[in-house]
């Protein structure tokens, strides 16, 4: 398989993740879509690493996995806090961050 095949799959995953982030109102699912986008980026790193015969791409992918773990921990804690205060995990609860005077 050539690198183009792998990169096409990576782009597809990234696009699906992006659509999910914008389309879904449930914060948990939007968060999972972000994980999908990260995985698409990861796959392209690893595909290029194989293509160039250089392990640096794999190291980048490794640190992205660590980053995703940290991000998931903090993000889910924020969602739990939000659910406790607002009783909802819909992204519309963030609307009260909006400036009431201006808009």
């Amino acid at each position: 398989m050539s690198i183009t095949h792998y990169l096409t799959l990576a782009i597809a995953l990234f696009s699906i993740g992006l659509i999910g982030v914008v389309l879904r109102r449930n914060l948990l699912v939007a968060f999972m879509s972000i994980e999908l986008m990260l995985n698409g980026a990861n796959l392209s790193f690893i595909a290029f690493s194989r293509y160039l015969g250089d392990m640096q791409g794999q190291m980048a992918a490794f640190f992205i996995v660590i980053l995703a773990a940290a991000e998931a921990a903090v993000g889910l804690a924020i969602i739990v806090l939000l659910f406790r205060r607002q009783g909802s995990v819909q992204s519309s609860v963030f609307q009260n961050l909006k400036d009431k005077v201006g808009v």
């Binding site: 990234f14 659509i19 699912v29 994980e35 999908l36 660590i66 804690a77 659910f83």
Partner: protein, 171 residues
């Protein structure tokens, strides 16, 4: 190899679409597990054994468990899961945007050609990854340890009940 790639990538794309289309977050999380496992299989075909293991251990293991745990902790009721279906024009615009993104990136990608480089002995193995991590990338490695500690403390502080500086809670 070719047939394996097509099976795994079809599985990955289908389950990725399932992630963003299921109404119940638990089903989305389980579909995400399928995506992550098929990606781990694809990493194996790219000679990234170490990352395939990390993918299964960290992503499909730790992160997804965290997701499912939070979903069960929140215990969302039926009303809460009900989302307004976005208007048709918004869905069409979004699908077009996603399609354009895909087409644009693919247009750049398809020019890449030629064969892959010859691989050195032990490419992607745990031994060579470990050697790189503890020599060239040792600073980044230590910093990511600090990052994880900070994230742990941050998550604890955020999720802890009844902090003095927060206004009183609803229930």
């Amino acid at each position: 190899m070719t047939i394996l790639f097509y099976i795994l990538s079809a599985l990955a794309v289908l389950s990725a679409v399932a992630v963003i289309s299921f109404r119940q977050p638990v089903y989305s999380a389980l579909s995400l597990v399928v995506t992550l496992f098929s990606l781990a299989g694809l990493y194996l075909t790219l000679h990234a054994e170490f990352l395939a293991i990390i993918q299964i251990l960290t992503y499909a293991g730790a992160i997804l468990i965290l997701f499912i745990f939070i979903i069960m902790l929140l215990n969302l009721n039926k009303d809460e899961l009900k989302e307004q279906t976005p208007a048709l024009w918004r869905r069409i615009v979004l699908a077009l945007l996603g399609g354009f993104l895909f087409a644009g990136l693919w247009w750049g990608v398809k020019k890449l050609s030629g064969d892959s480089a010859k691989l050195t002995e032990g490419f992607g193995s745990i031994a060579s990854s470990g050697k790189l991590l503890f020599t060239e990338y040792v600073l980044a490695f230590e910093i990511s340890g600090i990052l994880l500690t900070v994230a742990l403390i941050g998550a604890l502080v955020l999720a802890k009940r009844r902090l003095n500086y927060l206004p009183e809670e609803k229930n």
